[in-house]
Amino acid sequence: MGLLTVSGSPHIKGVDNVKKIMYGVVIAMIPAMLISFYFFGLGAIKVTLVAIASCLLFEFLIQRFLLKGKTTINDGSAIITGILLSFNVPSSMPSWMIIIGSLVAIGIAKMSFGGLGKNPFNPALVGRVFLLISFPVDMTNWPKPQAFSTALTDAITGPTPLAIVKEGISKGQTIPEIMSSGKIPAYVDMLFGNMGGSLGEISTIAILIGGLYLLFRKIITWHIPVSFIGTTFVFALILWLIDPSLYINPLFHLITGGLMLGAVFMATDMVTSPMSKTGQIIFGFGCGVLTILIRVWGAYPEGVSFAILLMNSVTPLINKGFKPTKFGEVVKNG
């Protein structure tokens, strides 16, 4: 017999570990990924592979040669960043731009803060926003979805439904006019993902399947997605009730753009979201309000990523202000 080990209690450990959580998220993203492969074909596969590979590579290089420490690329977090980055770009994105995005996401947004768990902002979103600002044309050049497309670059491109609405309104058209113009896909198509957009955001259904899986595995809780989506819906509903000719109906807001993707996969990122349940609800609320503000009155047609990043920046404040309910604090006896 060896020496007895002495350590503080507890002496047993739950089954969850970082790897399981990370790969759980990867599994949850597979439906949305498959949908993107279906509609955008080889281009989507190429973008996804490039993003994952470059994220892993940068993480490895930085940990190995810059920080000269242990490499933790197999913990799955870089894969998530890679997939999320690919989810946030159009399938026609040139590979070199994606590699730059990965470098920004991993190098600047993640490793420069100290790696996994230390980053204040969601790395993939930082990468996306960097790309959006640096290469606005390529980032808003959306190939039209075609089932089983094999072409690497789709010839036909078009704007996303949100961009169509934004453009229409800026031209002075009313919402019913825009909707009847024939440019907006049918709601069923938008629900399944048959519309222009970034790889991961098109199919609401696929994202919701992933979200349910995450909830089932207890990787995320309902608080952020529900309050995010709920706030967006209610805010949009109020605007729509005020003037349906100026503001589009709330359902449209829910199923277009990156709202679902953001609410399920990016706002729920453990590292950058608040710790307490109340804090998480506030966080989701803030994301929802900002999203609509940007979508309706902002310069960009889409505001989910900016909204989440902005809320990421106030997460430490939320953590300070909204503590969990402590036992014995509110005494209700009887």
Partner: protein, 441 residues
């Protein structure tokens, strides 16, 4: 089914010895009886080297208010007053007695007959509990008589009996309820009489259905005792959590259960009270679960206080070759031993053997801020934050984060996916803040 609302985890139960009847452990040749087996001041020995003692004879007297008498667990000669490493990990003073025969003090009723009539008055009962050295048997070892004296201006409404045994592996309370159910219930009645309360609630987790059913039938014969089945959830055995589960009252931070009209006692304590009051028997033995996945024969023993732990392990099939850790208590809150000669004390509810593989902690990774520790904390504090403060050398600042509320249940360290030593760091913060608070007074 009832449970507490805030936090909690559900570790694998592993109650390996749940169906093993309690066996009486053969008398050890030598016992090592520590002076300090309870919370509070160590007792002062009243015997000397060479003295002959009988079972149940007083050998160390309580010193001060929070302290407890200690009685000879075996008959024989006091070999010496020595020191031995006990379950605290430190060398502590012990009275060493060489066993000779098994001669009991005459005043103790050793018959197996159950005595049902409670003849003593409340005051006499408290004195008896004090005299016989009864302490909380759940592990905290707080002198029971102190707990039974309701402070002026407060009124006890409920007696809450802890039959939860939420620690994985441990089965000593479970077996006690099954095998000594009636005696235990008489003990509960005695405690009710002492506190002058009408109602006693025995909380038992639903993984012990046999005990719940058995006691529910038995309790019909007793006035005011009801059995409350509870959903399995750790740390339900914590005083505050149990009160919340059973009668849905929250004990305010830093206050005692009496604040909400409750007194909590363990089933083991209730049984010890029965023996002390009805049989005049001091606390000289207790039920100890000896368990572990690698152990040949997980068992429940009645062992005399002072029996070296290694002897219990021998009777449970011997120490397995690949043992990495031996724990006194359960896996969530027990203490890892650094010496197997450590004796059984009044607070030893179980001995858990863990293999080398089981005892290895996973590597610590970065905190991913998953908030699981916040979610499971039964006191609603933020373990990650306190650990962070401690690691930054600012442990003193955690007082406002209510670090002193921590009951050290270990749910945070248990759940942490990054395998961080959260409770370790929280304990450091607690000790530093505790030091500051003590100095302030």
């Amino acid at each position: 089914m009832k449970t507490f609302k805030l936090g909690g985890v559900h570790p694998e139960e592993n109650k390996l010895s749940a169906d093993k009847a309690i066996e009486i452990l053969p008398l050890p040749k030598v016992v090592y009886v520590p002076f300090s087996q309870h919370l509070g001041a160590p007792s002062v020995p009243v015997v000397d080297k060479g003295d002959a003692v009988k079972v149940g004879q007083l050998i160390a007297k309580a010193q001060g208010f929070i302290s407890a008498n200690i009685h000879a667990p075996v008959s024989g000669k006091v070999a010496k007053i020595d020191s031995i490493i006990d379950s605290s990990g430190y060398r502590k003073n012990v009275i060493v007695i060489n066993t000779e025969g098994d001669e009991w003090d005459e005043s103790i009723d050793t018959s197996t007959e159950i005595k049902r009539d409670i003849l003593l008055s409340a005051k006499e009962i408290i004195d008896k509990i004090h005299e016989k050295g009864i302490v909380g048997m759940g592990g905290a070892t707080f002198p029971t008589y102190v707990k039974m004296m309701v402070p002026e201006g407060k009124k006890a409404e409920f007696l809450v009996i802890n039959g939860v045994e939420c620690e994985p592996y441990l089965t000593s309370d479970h077996r006690l309820m099954l095998e000594k159910g009636e005696e235990m219930l008489i003990g509960v009645s005695i405690l009710m009489k002492t506190l002058n309360v009408e109602k006693a609630l025995i909380g038992i987790e639903s993984n012990k259905m046999d005990a719940i059913n058995y006691l529910t039938v038995l309790a019909q014969k007793f006035n005011g005792i009801s059995i409350i089945p509870l959903k399995v959830m750790y740390p339900q055995g914590g005083e505050k959590q149990l009160i919340k589960s059973v009668i849905n009252r929250e004990v305010p931070s830093g206050k005692l259960p009496i604040e909400v009209g409750c007194v909590v006692q363990n089933v083991g304590t209730a049984f010890a009270v029965y023996e002390a009051v009805q049989k005049n028997k001091p606390l000289i033995e207790r039920v100890v679960t000896v368990t572990g996945k690698s152990l040949k024969k997980p068992s429940n023993f009645i062992a005399r206080i002072g029996t070296p732990i290694i002897e219990l392990i021998e009777y449970a099939g011997g120490l397995p070759e690949d043992t990495g850790k031996v724990i006194s208590g359960g896996p969530m809150m027990g203490k890892a031993l650094n010496s197997l000669e450590a004796p059984v004390t009044k607070g030893t509810s179980g001995i858990l053997i863990m293999t080398q593989k089981e005892s290895k902690r996973p590597e610590q990774l970065n905190c991913i801020r998953c908030a699981k520790c916040v979610e499971v904390c039964p006191m609603g504090i933020e373990p990650y934050l306190i650990a962070l403060y401690t690691e930054l050398g600012k442990a003193e600042e955690t007082e406002k984060e209510r670090v002193m509320d921590c009951i050290e249940c270990g749910s945070c360290s248990y759940i942490c996916p990054s395998g961080r030593y959260l409770l370790d760091n929280v304990r450091i913060a607690k000790s530093k803040v505790g030091y500051i608070i003590r100095n302030r007074k």
